[in-house]
Point group: C2
Chain length 161, copies 2
């Protein structure tokens, strides 16, 4: 049970974008340099965050990515599921209905209790990540962090990355 | 983030073994027939449950698998981690320490807050599964279930499977 390596990338990118001044953006190439990760693959993941409504992408000379919503409205769950999907790790293939021990369909109208318990665990995981926003993460950073992040990441007017 | 297909197999096998009479066993081949799953691969997974201390294996003409402990002492977490390992799905590769934005080591003595939150979610998942035992699962089955399971699964004295 593994999340993609890019999960770490998007969590850090979103946290960094949350530290920019309102309206400021960072291009994928600059974010890739910032974390030394592959630019093309990172760009693909950032586009997934755009589709998920967490980031907005702008084009043009000052184009790049920024948060699509306030940091307090973007949860870790949204970011993780944007890159990994929302399907549960446990797959119930209804083996209770196959083989010598097969239960008849009328005894399988309810979800298998094992699948139900596995789903509960997945919901506990989702619940945990749904209750952490980017604003919560920012609140734990040292005071000097946002200024440092901005100076190393932001593309400002009249300045080329 | 996917659990192996065999997760369903071992959860159902352990639940079935929990319904046998004390001392009764079921061979891997019979469990494989019972659920119509590949015998050799199932046997490998059952051996993993033995190593994890959930099942005991006996040899000889009446040999097979049985629970190694009372059903109330075997949790879903033990079964799942026996086949999938206990490592967390999120991997922190410390990208905060690499690239143009690299933080110096002295600022990275604590676990990254993002990794910490991902770990909390994994612990919520583990906590959920740690609090469901095979006895809890058995308590939800219909009254007729154990007798049916035993008649289709158990290898009793003087009877060949």
């Amino acid at each position: 049970m593994k999340l993609p390596v890019s999960t770490e990338w998007v969590l850090h990118c979103a946290t960094s974008l949350a530290q920019l001044e309102p309206g400021a953006t960072a291009p994928a190439a600059r974010l890739a340099e910032y974390f030394d990760v592959p630019a093309a693959y990172l760009a693909k993941q950032l586009q997934a965050l755009v589709r998920a409504g967490a980031l907005a992408a702008t084009t043009g000379p000052r184009g790049g990515f920024r948060l699509a919503r306030p940091a307090a409205e973007i949860t870790l769950l949204q970011l993780v599921e944007a890159v990994d999907g929302a399907s549960a790790p446990y797959e119930c293939r209804e083996i209770r209905q196959q083989g010598r021990g097969a239960l008849p369909p009328e005894d399988c109208r309810n979800t298998c209790i094992l699948a139900a318990k596995m789903d509960e665990a997945h919901e506990a995981w989702r619940h945990s990540l749904r209750h952490v926003t980017l604003a919560d993460i920012l609140a734990t950073l040292p005071e000097w962090a946002p200024a440092r992040t901005r100076s190393r990441l932001a593309v400002s007017a009249g300045r080329k990355s």
